[in-house]
Symmetry: C2
Subunit: 288 residues, 2 copies
Amino acid sequence: MSALAGAALEVWVNGQAGMTVSALDRGLHFGDGVFESIACVGGRARFLRLHLERLGEGCARLSIPTPPAETLEAVVRQLAQRDERAMLKLIVTRGVAASRGYAPSCDQPATWIALRYHFPQEEHCAEEGVAVRTLALRLGENPALAGMKHCNRLEQVLARAELARYAQPPFEGLLFSRSGHLVSGTMTNVFLVRDGRLLTPSVDRCGVAGIMRRVVLEEADRLGMAISEGRFEAAELSAASEMFLTNARLGVLAVSGIDGRKVAVGPLTRRLQAALAPRLTMTADACV
Amino acid sequence: MSALAGAALEVWVNGQAGMTVSALDRGLHFGDGVFESIACVGGRARFLRLHLERLGEGCARLSIPTPPAETLEAVVRQLAQRDERAMLKLIVTRGVAASRGYAPSCDQPATWIALRYHFPQEEHCAEEGVAVRTLALRLGENPALAGMKHCNRLEQVLARAELARYAQPPFEGLLFSRSGHLVSGTMTNVFLVRDGRLLTPSVDRCGVAGIMRRVVLEEADRLGMAISEGRFEAAELSAASEMFLTNARLGVLAVSGIDGRKVAVGPLTRRLQAALAPRLTMTADACV
């Protein structure tokens, strides 16, 4: 595993330890697959049921045969136990191409890859919040792919590259759609608060339906918060009294600066962080 | 090579015969790469200089370090010589990921893969022309990726799957952009003729700037034809007196049916086919 050079600690391919895939894999040729990034805490995979559910939905939308959930689950649980904290990545592709072209064939088994990574040390201070900045890159819109965590991620690659060009890169870049609506960060979903109401962009034209986004929406509903899922323009960003980011690893991360404007870490953010803490630290029972 | 099961006859990875890539390759994780499909005729790679030029441009736009052109050229020439006819595919990815996220690192060498395939037996009759049909899928638009032959090809995969659902699938499906303009076929560029003028969609919002599209545009200009590159709506398709498809393998392929409407194979199509024939059969000198 030394050749992996620190990027991954362990790799399984189709249920066996291994570090290579076929050069004919459709994941490599076309990004023809889906993936999940799963945070593991206390030796257990956080929100595993939700991740496997979304993976199955993505495969179904792309007509990729999903590997048996129990097989994936067993491997994830095994990898999660290796350490106190880890990040796992599950990739499912349409498998080895039976021919040269784009057309999928019906009878190829999927390729599935499980990778274990270090849980990174945070460079930001979660208490103080992080800075975000609107990027110039706009996301293309395609309802046929929207919401899915698929492997066509060149837009996110370009967005991260744009972010890195800042002398002092902010923690996250904000992405708008080509039609001018706020979508997400490069690796996070975003929530705004305005007049006590929680706002988050729809992901039916582009963007990813994040697992933590779903968990937050369910928790906010349980707490009786007013919620609007919809289309928000840049003006909404300027008017927001609070903002936070979500993803599987970060949970709920407060934003303290939007495009140079200081924002206080506000009460709805704190309330959601407190309510979700037991599930994020895996000290609650219902951590599926 | 038996495990390749007919999909590819020969595979080179980073300059050596081999059939696997790292499971950490960014091509596999994100479709983070570009590719070329090169037709080989008479043991030589057709329009090789143009293909290598576009590959280099795509790498430059994505900030992927391009493998030396002379190295790629030498491998392509070697593979082209193996048989009278072949299709080659060159893939260049951003290489093995140095970390888990989308952010590209600066110092990773690219991965490049060369694959040799059979030149397929055509199932259509080039003389009679082929049928095309407008697909329901719309292409998302992103100028940052438009024109490039990158490895984010899920839209094309879905388009081919839509085409295959027809009881008698037409030869090619036509794709419109989300904003309602004709873009291309699933694997071809498209040309229309109206009032003696050659029309082809711009590829600055989506679509691929095909090599054969470029060759045809240059040839049409040389022949003194009137040319419009622009945005065309569905009405333009209904009004066209001629239509043809282009790609590296097919050259100039006449269309005889558009969404059920019969179209004659017309004079501009025939004239371009005749003018390009020496370069496509590699009997002319200037076959670079």
